[in-house]
Symmetry: C2
Subunit: 238 residues, 2 copies
DNA sequence: GAGCGCTCGTGATGGTGATCACAAGCAGTT
DNA sequence: AACTGCTTGTGATCACCATCACGAGCGCTC
């Protein structure tokens, strides 16, 4: 898997510039070298499953390019999407560290590339480099916060409209907003949005209609324009 | 705060025998000694708040005696209880490690005792003892799993009865069950149960009535007897 | 262009649980 | 015993949203 230097599409994958707080950035030369030795890179098509909920943890995936969605399902087929991951994210870390089955499934939403670090190698690496272990702990805490945000959304927000507004706001903060109105490239189906906020596809469709009617948002092709941000915040109000 | 050896009510508090996987057990002599130096012990009455959601993290609390409930609230006053902690649990670890505000409030449900370890001291301790940092990471992963279990409960289980059954089962597995029927000391009000499963007090009352009628459970004073475990599992079915 | 698969819009309907309201039980205090 | 505060039981009502159903739009392939 280790290609000669310079031949990889994204050779600096482990040190993605995308995230300043990136887990494996700014390591000592020695540690960086060793990480480079135990990682392997692969390219994935859209729809590829990096891992599936319930599987024994094989290792972690460091997403270099492409987006992935993390989801968990009930036996009856109901699915919730718990996170949308982007380049720089480390997937499967919790399972590897605690040696429990993957708690979610990870599916590529578009073609991408990821580094894989086998479980045993990573754990040995962490034992040898205590300072990295602490950073792993920090990353896990951040994951924990994300999970808690999810809990608050699912448990405290009562109505679908509240959750929907919350989701829209979380999108709009990510983008550079020019004087109030924010634009977001929408690349999710209504079905997927429904799985994020825990409702049905029909309800999401109706919410779009309603919010358009109330001038809260606008749809230009596949670009979502957030009008009237304050009104959305008022709907969320938690 | 450091009492002479043997004078504390629970002097071996940091090495509680309650949990085998306890975070601060089986440390090296040196590390254990140092932990002992930076910790301080306090006694809390029922209703005492160890920390409150949104506060800057002062440090972690190692619960030695008594139970505590962790909860998060929305601005409108709706509250969900996310975890019931027992002796041996470490509270506030995530916030301290990632230096973010406490994501929950911790309230003593009965009189108890806890060790406090200030944030700075703990972080320095972890930097000096890489092997403990790894164990902290493991603990954080376990917390993460608990949070995910919560997400699955809130997001995937649709009906209150499903969540209620799930809660009952989680209680019954903790107790030694003699031939099928499990007994649990019930020390929660219906209101609190409602806050755990995310519904209303009235619905919980009705669920109790219904489950009693269907012979799924029985109430002897404040002792809850789980009859017909399989039926409960069938209700959960996820 | 016909056919197929996927996504989206929207109406009709019905069940379910939140909400309101009130009474009763129970413990502790004076 | 009367009072107070907290908890529990239960009825009545009603909004809301899941579900079912169907048609339309759109891109793709054969």
């Amino acid at each position: 898997m280790r290609a000669p230097y310079g031949l990889n599409i994204l050779d600096n994958c482990l040190t993605c510039p995308v995230r300043e707080e990136h887990l494996f950035c700014n390591l000592s030369v020695h540690a960086g070298q060793r990480l480079n030795d135990i990682k392997s890179t692969a390219v994935y098509p859209k729809g590829a499953m990096l891992f599936i909920e319930g599987q024994q943890p094989r290792g972690v995936f460091v997403l270099c390019a492409g987006k992935a969605k993390l989801s968990t399902s009930s036996r009856e087929g109901k699915t919730i999407i718990t996170k949308l991951s982007e380049a720089g994210d480390v997937l499967g870390l919790n399972s590897v560290v605690s040696n429990r089955p993957y708690e979610v499934s990870a599916e590529m939403m578009e073609p991408g590339q990821a580094n894989f670090i086998p479980r045993e190698s990573l754990l040995q690496f962490l034992k040898d480099h205590g300072e990295v272990a602490l950073r792993v702990a920090e990353q896990l805490s951040r994951n924990y916060y994300t999970a808690y945000e999810e809990i608050r959304t699912l448990g405290l927000a009562t109505s679908p409209s509240e959750k929907f507004a919350k989701l829209l706001l979380s999108w709009s903060t990510k983008t550079t907003q020019n004087d109030g109105a924010a634009q977001v490239k929408l690349m999710l189906t209504h079905e997927e949005i429904a799985e994020i906020i825990g409702t049905t596809r029909e309800t999401v469709s109706r919410l779009f209609s309603e919010f358009k009617r109330r001038q809260l948002l606008q749809l230009k092709g596949s670009t979502l324009v957030i009008r009237n941000r304050p009104a959305l915040e008022k709907i969320v109000q938690s």
